[in-house]
């Protein structure tokens, strides 16, 4: 391999890793936008998406095209159920309490998944085979293209939803000023439920497309959530393009770090850059510190 091909391979690897982070990071934004909280159970939604997909395709023998939407739907139901049971009944909860509830929820979902799918990693076949695609001497797996395509679809879909549809606009209004939204007749509580449904759906899509690459086990969610959280923060909370940009950036940094500096410190390198960016831009790459200042937390 010549130097160029090697560099290109690092970039491809970074994109492959980063697209996973971005995919997970996207899910954080919707709930954040609507409620101002970080949903620590987001990683569990991703895990559930993958696990349902494994069951549907390997046990029920459904084709990918049918199993995919069913898996996503099931996770959406879990997400909405979680919100209805644990968050909906609360009156005026503080941000920290909500975050704690999502942490507790993540422990519960993790425990249930352990009973449902066992403790070992589960495997899902790649959607379009494992023959790598060769570009100028560097390779990328077809499954990574699936991840990137889902990423693009979700970002475009979200942009359309928030800017063009009435519900999407209502949701943004809630995020901006819940009291004012309430005054014009938007049910903030329903919007919160919806945001959980949407977030869990996006998490599930992420879980479905990344499981063939990473293998899924019941405790995968936490690690994915941490990386996704990093992407969401670096991009600027609430910004979908930011999360994608930041996710890819973190992935590429890790990959280049492993390739050119040291694989022992690759995660540290990415984190140091993340911290550096936050020190210069306290609201993330595409976020605004002024808007952030207005948030409750």
């Amino acid at each position: 391999m010549d130097a160029l091909a090697i560099t290109l391979q690092y970039v491809f690897t970074g994109v492959a890793i980063g697209s996973i982070y971005a995919m997970v990071g996207l899910g954080f934004n919707i709930i954040y936008n609507c409620t101002g909280i970080i949903n620590f159970a987001q990683g569990e939604f991703v895990m559930l998406g993958g696990m349902f997909m494994v069951t549907l395709t390997t046990v029920w023998k459904l084709p990918v095209g049918i199993a995919f939407p069913i898996a996503v739907l099931l996770v959406v139901l879990v997400g909405i159920g979680f919100e209805r049971i644990a968050i909906h009944p609360l009156k005026n909860p503080s941000v920290l309490v909500l975050i704690m509830i999502t942490i507790a929820g993540s422990i519960l979902i993790k425990g249930l998944a352990m009973f449902a799918w066992g403790k070992e990693a589960r495997y899902l076949p790649h959607f379009s085979g494992e023959t790598p695609i060769n570009i100028m001497g560097a390779t990328i797996l077809p499954q990574t293209l699936w991840v990137l395509a889902s990423l693009l679809t979700v970002v475009v879909g979200l942009a359309y939803f928030f800017n063009r549809t009435l519900i999407g606009k209502a949701m943004r209004a809630c995020a901006h000023n819940p009291d004012a939204a309430r005054l014009v007749g938007i049910s903030v509580k329903q919007m919160v439920t919806l945001s959980f449904g949407l977030s869990s759906g996006i998490g599930a899509i992420a879980g479905v497309v990344i499981t063939p690459i990473i293998l899924m086990d019941y405790q995968r969610g936490a690690m994915l959530a941490l990386k996704g959280f990093g992407a969401a923060i670096l991009g600027g909370l609430g910004s979908a393009p930011g999360a994608v940009l930041a996710g890819l950036l973190i992935g590429i940094l890790e990959s280049l770090g492993a390739g050119y500096i040291s694989s022992h410190y690759k995660d540290a390198i990415a984190l140091i850059v993340l911290l550096g960016v936050l020190f210069v831009r306290p609201g993330g790459l595409l976020g605004s510190a002024d808007v952030q200042r207005l948030k409750k937390f």
């Binding site: 090697i6 070992e120 495997y123 494992e130 790598p132 405790q219 390739g259 694989s263 995660d267």
Partner: protein, 396 residues
């Protein structure tokens, strides 16, 4: 003031709660077990716990030991060192067990080592790292094979194939780290040059960056050393990069599901492991065959799951204790002495010969070189023998 009253009440209630399982005046002989039944290494603790419970039922069904039933008290440490410390203390001081099997993972085993010494209770760890028994601690033993022997077996095999330059890639957990240390320690004396030394996080999802670096080096083979599912990713990433040099794994690959998940990329992976994985392809005269076949069929029929070497470590540890109790009775010191002087014990991990200097009891012959063929584990010797036969037939 009242706040504190309430505080203390809660405190007292909690403490009294701790003692709710008052110790029953006991017929059964109690053996403790500390496994990572939940948490990061729960896929290790699960087969270990199952195995222990299976043996408990088996021994008791056969009338126990000298008429007394055994009771295996399994504690979960969730892979957390502080929990393991508490669990061992509980087993020793509250349950009054006479020996402890486990913990499952290296870190927890090292953390409880001083406690076993302090309380004088025999402890047989199911974790791999050699540092558990080196330096030797009076009361601490372990059943998994030695890391160093694993490294030596891989190097020996490499040399037999004329390969001298190797890239190592290890996970950044205690298992991978110990492997890395052993590989680096034994390479020079075996005449092996380490051409690349890469690591990855146990939860990492992609190792193509590290492998690209290895590909660009002049390594003739890759050794991956970890127990996590990422082992599968390594083989897949190698295939993605079109790397054709052989991949060797450590004994951490001892779960056939990994071979299955690797698919085509897993074909031809060679690694040293206990013979449990290849019991079907072992020669009938192998001294371990009977033990292995029984454990495999018992386990697989009872739990409807494939057997792994990890459960085997618990199997060996618990039987060592049970055998000792049968011989010398339920006495901690006598059990310890008995285990230390056990010779020729046929377990799933190999044939154990303990001594005051060696609390592992296994040597490199405990390992069988295993190859992945059609997503199954096959003894390399069997493959090579049949290949040789084919050649001989052709020559005829």
């Amino acid at each position: 003031m009242k706040k504190v009253l309430i505080l203390t009440t809660i405190l007292c209630l909690m403490l009294s709660g701790l003692g709710f399982a008052a110790e029953p005046a006991g017929e059964p002989i109690k053996i403790g077990a500390v496994f990572s039944v939940t948490g990061k290494a729960s896929w290790l603790g699960e087969p270990e716990r199952n195995t222990a419970k299976m043996i408990e039922a088996e021994v008791n069904a056969a009338g126990g030991i000298n008429g007394r039933p055994i009771e295996v008290i399994v504690e979960d440490d969730a892979g957390v060192e502080a929990n393991a410390v508490n669990a061992v203390k509980k087993l020793v001081t509250k349950d009054n067990v006479i020996a402890i099997v486990g913990p499952s993972v290296t870190g927890a085993s090292l953390a409880v080592k001083p406690i076993a010494e302090e309380f004088g209770v025999p402890l047989i760890s199911c974790a791999a790292a050699e540092s558990i028994v080196n330096p030797v601690a009076k009361w601490v033993f372990k059943t998994p094979q030695k890391d160093s022997d694993c490294a030596i077996r891989i190097f020996e095999y490499m040399k037999s194939k004329g390969l001298t330059k190797v890239a190592i890639i290890t996970s950044t957990d205690a298992f991978g780290d110990n492997g890395r240390k052993q590989l680096k320690a034994h390479a020079p004396q075996m005449g092996i040059e380490i051409a690349a030394d890469e690591t990855y996080g146990p939860a990492d999802t992609d190792m193509t960056a590290q492998l690209t670096k290895i590909k660009a080096s002049d390594a003739q083979a890759v050794i991956n050393w970890s127990v996590v599912p990422a082992q599968v990713t390594v083989s897949k990433n190698m295939r993605q990069l079109g790397m054709t040099i052989p991949l060797y794994q450590s004994h951490g690959f001892g779960n056939v599901k990994y071979a299955q998940a690797s698919g085509e990329a897993g074909e031809g992976i060679i690694f040293p492991a206990g013979r449990l994985l290849v019991v079907d392809t072992l020669a009938d005269d192998n001294p371990q065959k009977a033990v292995l076949a029984k454990y495999k069929s018992d386990y697989e029929s009872k739990f409807n799951d494939q057997v792994s070497t990890f459960g085997g470590h618990a199997y060996d540890a618990l039987w060592l204790v049970i055998n000792a109790i049968k011989e010398v009775g339920p006495d901690k010191a006598k059990i310890r002495d008995y285990v230390e002087n056990t010779k020729g014990f046929v377990g799933t991990g190999g044939i154990f010969n303990f001594s005051p200097e060696d609390h592992c009891g296994l040597d490199k012959t405990a390992f069988e070189m295993i190859i992945v063929k059609d997503s199954k584990f096959v003894a390399l010797s069997a493959v090579e023998k049949s290949a040789a036969q084919v050649i001989m037939i052709q020559e005829d």
